[in-house]
Symmetry: C2
Subunit: 179 residues, 2 copies
C-alpha cells in the first residue's frame, strides 16, 4: 500500500510518500510545495493544486491522508489555512484518491509517543523510522509522519482516524518491526 501524507499550509505544503510492504515501511519520496508571497493568493492556490496533482501522477499513491485542523489563531488565518487545504484536498480527491484526516496531536503521539512533541522530535523520529540521513526538512517530515501514522492504522486498532473513539497507542512500540 502506497500512502501520501500532506501537511498543508498557505506558504509551504509538505508531502511525503511511503510504502507499506507487509510490515515493512519504506520511504518513497518527500518534498515541499513552496509558493511565493509575491503572487496573488488565487495563483498560489492554483500552484498548490497543480503541484500536488503532479506528485500524485508521479508516485501513484493509493490513499491520501491530511492533517485535520480544529483551531486557528483567528478567523482570518483559519480562512487562509482553509484555502490551502481546499486546493490540496481538491487535487487529491480530483486525482481519485480517498482522503483520511488525522490530527497533528494523534500523529505526534503515534510517531513519538508524545502528543505535544516538537517539530524536531518528529523530524528525528521520521528520520529514524525511514532511515533518512539527513533528516527531511520539517514540513516534509510532518507529511511523512502523517503518512507513517496512516500506514500503521490497521495495526494500531485504536488509532483515531476520522471519528476515532479509542486512544492511540505509540507507534514507537512497533518500531522493532520496521526497517
Amino acid at each position: 500500500m502506497r500512502i501520501i501524507g500532506i501537511d498543508p499550509g498557505s506558504r509551504a505544503t509538505g508531502y511525503g510518500v511511503v510504502d507499506l510492504d507487509g510490515r515493512k515501511l519504506l520511504h518513497v519520496a518527500h518534498g515541499i510545495v513552496r509558493v511565493s508571497a509575491s503572487i496573488p493568493q488565487a495563483a498560489r492556490l492554483a500552484q498548490i493544486h497543480r503541484a500536488l496533482a503532479e506528485v500524485v501522477t508521479k508516485f501513484e499513491p493509493q490513499c491520501a491522508v491530511i492533517e485535520r485542523v480544529f483551531v486557528a489563531r483567528n478567523p482570518k488565518s483559519a480562512i487562509v489555512l482553509g484555502e490551502a487545504r481546499g486546493a490540496a484536498l481538491a487535487a487529491l480527491a480530483g486525482s481519485g484518491l480517498g482522503v483520511d484526516e488525522i490530527s497533528a496531536r494523534e500523529v505526534k503521539k503515534a510517531v513519538t509517543g508524545n502528543g505535544g512533541a516538537t517539530k524536531q522530535d518528529v523530524q528525528a523520529m521520521v528520520s529514524r523510522l525511514l532511515g533518512l540521513v539527513p533528516a527531511p526538512p520539517s514540513d516534509a517530515a510532518d507529511a511523512l509522519a502523517i503518512a507513517i501514522c496512516r500506514s500503521q492504522a490497521g495495526r494500531l486498532a485504536g488509532l483515531e482516524i476520522r471519528r476515532g473513539r479509542r486512544r492511540p497507542r505509540r507507534l514507537a512500540d512497533l518500531t522493532r518491526d520496521l526497517p
Copy 2:
C-alpha cells in the same frame, strides 16, 4: 469584457457571468454548483474545482471576482468555508484568470445602495439590472451581483476593490445607462 462572479460556499457555490459591452451590461449565464453532504469533504472540493473549471472553459470569462470574507461564526466554519474558497480559487487561477475580491457589503451597497441589503433585495435588483424573469436563485443572484459590481469598477472610481480607500457610490445611480 466578460466577468465571472463567484459566491463560494461549502454546500452551494454560485456563479454568474456577465458581459460589459461599452456601457451595456448583458447576462451570459448563471448557475449553482451543489455538492452532496453525503460524500466526503475532499470529494466535494474536487467537484467544486472541476465544475468551475468547466464553467470557465465553457464561457471563457476574462476576469474573475469572488466575495471577500473577513469573519466566520467560528474557526471550524472558517476552515470549511476557506476550503470551498480554496477549491474555487485554484480552479479560477488554474484556468489562467486573475481573481479580484470584493466584500459582500460592497457588492450589496453598489447594487442596491444598501450595504445591509437582504438576499431578496439583491435578487430583485440583479433581476432588474439584467432583465431576468424569474429572478435567479439566491446563490446565483449573489454571484451575478458580484460580477455586476466588478463590471462597474472602472466607472465607480471609488469602489473598494482589493484595497479600497474611498466609499463606493451606488450602482443604482448608474442604472439609467444599463439595459
